[in-house]
């Protein structure tokens, strides 16, 4: 197991490296540059800026410089937010996104799993149909609709929730809800189908034959196996929520990472693109490694190679 973990981590680092390399060359292929504005600046000023940030060097040299600096923990200055370093921006915003995502994941699991169980347990009955309809809505409604709906209802109309920022506990309600709707609905559906699948297995029938209560069967025997696909989903979900949701952050004015990620690309802020992409890639890969290990703990039949 130890050997496996080391191997997975090594592979993970290699993947991050490949992502970083690809991003570096691709972003430089895209037309436009970081110093573009409606107001044209003089050629001398443009050149001075490029020299200042090392953009006048050949691409390959810039790449090696960037990678060496990165390994020394230096992600450079943002090209657009003058005077701010990339690591300052990322590490001031990451905790905000992480906290929000963490809460949203907990909410999604706490709501999604029970709903999925109820739905499977009552297969074909009213409760099941009701939950299926809810789940479909949750998956189909994009977050910009649900966010605006929440904002207008609870912020503008009822005026019971703050419309912006994360300054106190209540201000988390709307953004967390908006973020959690999709994963909750997804987990509910996943949980339902996986539980139904497990409930049809032979060992469940055996348990029934032994006279166990359906409650015991569900919680002691079925749930543990049925949770596997949900756990597989938690990894990528957590990573994607942690790197922030552009829409939710924008609508609720949350200073998180998601917006930086999107705006760095539209702004051609090269150092920011690299910084946010590497963080995102590292998170996704780390989440997957952790999920694989969790898998092994839950299901000893899985062989880690």
């Amino acid at each position: 197991m130890g050997k496996y973990i080391v191997k997975r981590i090594a592979m993970g680092i290699l993947s991050v490296f490949i992502v970083a390399t690809l991003t570096f060359f691709l972003m430089n292929l895209v037309p436009g540059g970081p110093f573009v504005a409606e107001k044209s600046i003089s050629k001398a000023a443009q050149e001075a800026l490029e020299a200042k940030f090392g953009l006048d060097k050949p691409l390959l040299q810039r790449y090696t410089t960037y990678m060496t600096d990165f390994l020394h923990g230096d992600m450079g200055f943002s090209l657009r937010q003058r005077g701010r370093t990339v690591s300052d921006i990322i590490f001031s915003k990451f905790p905000v996104s992480a906290r929000l995502a963490g809460i949203a994941v907990v909410v999604a699991l706490c709501v999604g799993i029970p709903l999925g169980c109820i739905s499977a347990y009552n297969r074909g009955k009213l409760a099941d149909n009701f939950i299926i309809v809810l789940g479909t809505c949750g998956i189909a409604i994009p977050s910009f609709i649900s966010s605006v709906l929440l904002l207008y209802t609870f912020g503008s109309w009822l005026k019971i929730l703050p419309t912006m920022g994360l300054n106190d506990a209540v201000s988390y309600i709307m953004p967390v809800t908006a973020l959690a709707i999709y994963p909750t609905a997804y987990i509910t559906r996943l949980m339902r189908s996986s539980l139904l699948d497990v409930m049809g297995q032979d060992y469940i029938r055996t348990a029934k034959a032994k006279g166990l209560s359906s409650f015991m069967i569900l919680f002691k025997h079925a749930l543990r196996n049925a949770l596997l696909p949900v756990i597989a989903y938690v990894g990528p979900m957590l990573a994607s929520l942690m790197t922030g949701s552009f829409v939710v952050e924008k609508i609720f004015t949350i200073p998180g990472l998601g917006r930086e990620f999107v705006s760095s690309i539209t702004n051609r802020d090269y150092t920011m693109i690299m910084g946010t992409t590497i963080i995102l890639a590292a998170l996704v890969i780390a989440a997957n490694v952790i999920v694989d290990i969790l898998y092994k703990i839950i299901d000893p039949r899985i062989k880690l190679k």
Binding site: A45, I118, I160, G165, T253
Partner: protein, 581 residues
């Protein structure tokens, strides 16, 4: 059994919801003052001695500024922060008049080349240290520093004597023959710091307005040199000299400014009454609208366009304001490419569109139709530039307001160009980025050109970061363009078409137009404007570009906010603003 379980779960869910709602109510009650920022506001609302004026209020004037370094900023929302945080040598007041700011007076030599500013006594930075003319000398020279690459450097100090030496003299291949040396810029503070003398290399009759531009805000040498570019990123090192100073900046969330206790200058200190202003850095118009409706913000700039039809204008007793700003939405045609090199084609494309329909229907009245290049709000030697242009042109705008007549003229012009009813006219491509009304306007153009002229136009949507370089490189046929003026002088608009101007995207090149612009760069105000009027007439008769609409700002403002004003520069001035409780 099942029903019971569901009931139990439902009850549990209800309890959670109820708790959340309680929390919401309690908090909503406590935070009746705008913005609950972690104990920043020491005095409790209701316990203050003067119940009439609130300690703080919140407004939204734009998203997170990329930079608040006066030399580096080129955005209007950053500029709006600068007019609140800094004070330039001269200021522009609510009546658009140039007034003494940090300078108590100034003189201009007869040839218009020597400008001498006399500073007020007892000026201070927000950190309490002394400020004098030497700080302005440093600021002006810093703007010419190529290594800083100030986007507006050339605009504001390009006419100062020695500017070319300050930025270096390139040969015709662009290689430097002399090293840049900012000390060559002919700006000199007296030894006692009382006066600042600026020598210009050519007359600039609007230099007083330039000096009042936010880019010219003084920066403190000590903090800039100690902290580098980072000086302008944290309140601790952000030393300013205006009526307000930054006390908190959470990027992408809010900038909190407090009254600057060390302020002295051109604004009347007794009228600066509000302690704290929160600038909410909202990016989404729905978020702004919610903040306004919930009472968090008393003024918002980003109004969702879909809400506009339901808003009541201030003239009708509502809270929705529309006010002119100095800018024109226009279309560029690439004059280096056929068929746009034919003046008749340009005329046809110019006259075939219904500007009134574009501005009032497509753009929902948030723009005004443009029949001249320079719009209202721009001043002249006496009166307004727009009105004077109109009266000199027989009381009419250069492009007639009569659309039916225009349509006929457009069809005739196209026939004269050799394309009757559009026969044989090549398919043209119109490039635009996708923001605001740009695509809706493009679709209108497409249908109008088809209907009136029989011309087929394709729409090419280009991502913003690629759009400007593409347009500047001349890699387009027709494209959206627009300009909001930096200072209130018509030259700023008209010079966009000067042959060597960096923003002359249509590559318009007319000897008589350039000559008129050259002549307008003179000390005499009367001549200055006379030649600018000539230049505008030449480019309009050449149909060098297609003016479509004049920009307006539109915003929502609660009647409780008083003392603020909107200027045609696109700024809201909050120095005298207050909210009555």
């Amino acid at each position: 059994m099942n029903v019971k379980k569901i009931l139990a779960l439902a009850l549990a869910a209800l309890m959670v919801l109820a708790m959340a709602a309680c929390g919401g109510n309690n908090n909503g009650g406590n935070t009746s003052t705008p913005a609950s920022n972690g104990g920043n506001n020491a005095s409790e609302p209701g316990t203050t001695g003067e119940p009439t004026i609130a300690d703080e209020f919140s407004v939204q004037i734009g998203p997170n500024p990329e930079t608040l370094d006066p030399a580096l900023n080129s955005a209007v929302d950053g500029g709006n922060m600068l007019v609140t945080l800094f004070e330039t040598l001269l200021i522009i007041d609510e009546n658009l008049e140039v007034k003494p700011g940090q300078a108590e007076s100034y003189t201009v030599s007869e040839d218009g080349l020597t400008w001498t500013f006399t500073m007020r006594d007892g000026l201070k930075w927000s950190d309490g240290t002394d400020l004098n003319a030497k700080d302005f000398e440093y600021t002006f020279k810093r703007l010419a520093d190529v290594n800083l690459a100030a986007p507006y450097g050339e605009t504001v100090v390009g006419m100062v004597d020695g500017y070319q030496d300050a930025i270096g003299n390139p040969d015709k291949d662009g290689n430097m023959t002399t090293e840049p040396d900012i000390e060559k810029l002919n700006v000199k503070a007296s030894d006692d710091g009382k006066t600042l003398t600026v020598i210009l290399s050519y007359p600039c009759p609007y230099f007083d307005k330039l000096v009042a531009f936010g880019t010219m805000s003084p920066v403190q040498k000590a903090t800039v040199e100690a902290n580098g570019d980072a000086w302008a990123t944290t309140p601790a090192t952000y030393v300013c000299n205006g009526p307000y100073m930054i006390s908190e900046w959470t990027p992408s969330e809010r900038i909190v400014v407090k009254k600057n206790p060390n302020y002295s200058g051109g604004w009347d200190s007794s009228r600066i009454v509000t302690d704290t202003i929160n600038f909410l850095l909202l990016e989404d118009s729905s978020a702004s609208f919610a903040a306004y409706n919930s009472g968090t913000a008393v003024m918002i700039k980003d109004v969702p366009t879909e809400e506009i039809p339901s808003l009541t204008k201030v003239e009708d007793g509502g809270d929705f304001y529309v006010d002119t700003i100095l800018g024109t939405y226009y279309l560029s045609m690439n004059l280096n490419k056929a068929p746009f090199n034919d003046v008749n084609v340009r005329k046809a494309l110019n006259l075939a569109i219904d500007r009134d329909y574009i501005a009032n229907v497509i753009m929902q009245g948030t723009y005004s139709p443009a029949y001249n290049f320079v719009g209202p709000g721009v001043s002249d030697a006496s009166g307004m530039f727009f009105d004077n242009a109109k009266s000199a042109n027989g009381g009419k705008t250069y492009i007639s307001e009569d659309y039916e007549e225009n349509k006929k003229l457009a069809q005739e012009a196209l026939a004269a160009a050799g394309y009757p009813n559009g026969e044989g006219f090549p398919t043209i491509t119109y490039s635009t980025n996708d923001a605001g009304y740009h695509v809706a306007v493009a679709e209108y153009l497409q249908s109008a050109y088809k209907e009136v002229l029989g011309i087929t136009m394709n729409i090419d949507r280009v991502e913003w970061a690629s759009f400007t370089p593409m347009r500047r490189a001349g890699d387009y046929e027709m494209s959206r363009n627009g300009w909001v003026m930096d200072y209130n002088d018509a030259s700023n608009m008209i010079e966009l078409l000067y042959s060597t101007n960096g923003n002359n995207d249509g590559k318009y090149n007319s000897a008589s137009f350039d000559a008129a612009i050259d002549s307008s760069r003179c000390a005499d105000q009367g001549d200055h404007f006379k030649f600018l009027h000539n230049a505008e007439k030449i480019m309009m008769e050449d149909y060098a570009c297609i003016p479509v609409a004049y920009y307006n700002d539109f915003w929502l403002q609660s009647p409780s906010l008083k003392g603020s004003w909107h200027s045609p520069y696109g700024y809201w001035f909050f120095q005298y603003a207050y909210v009555e409780e």
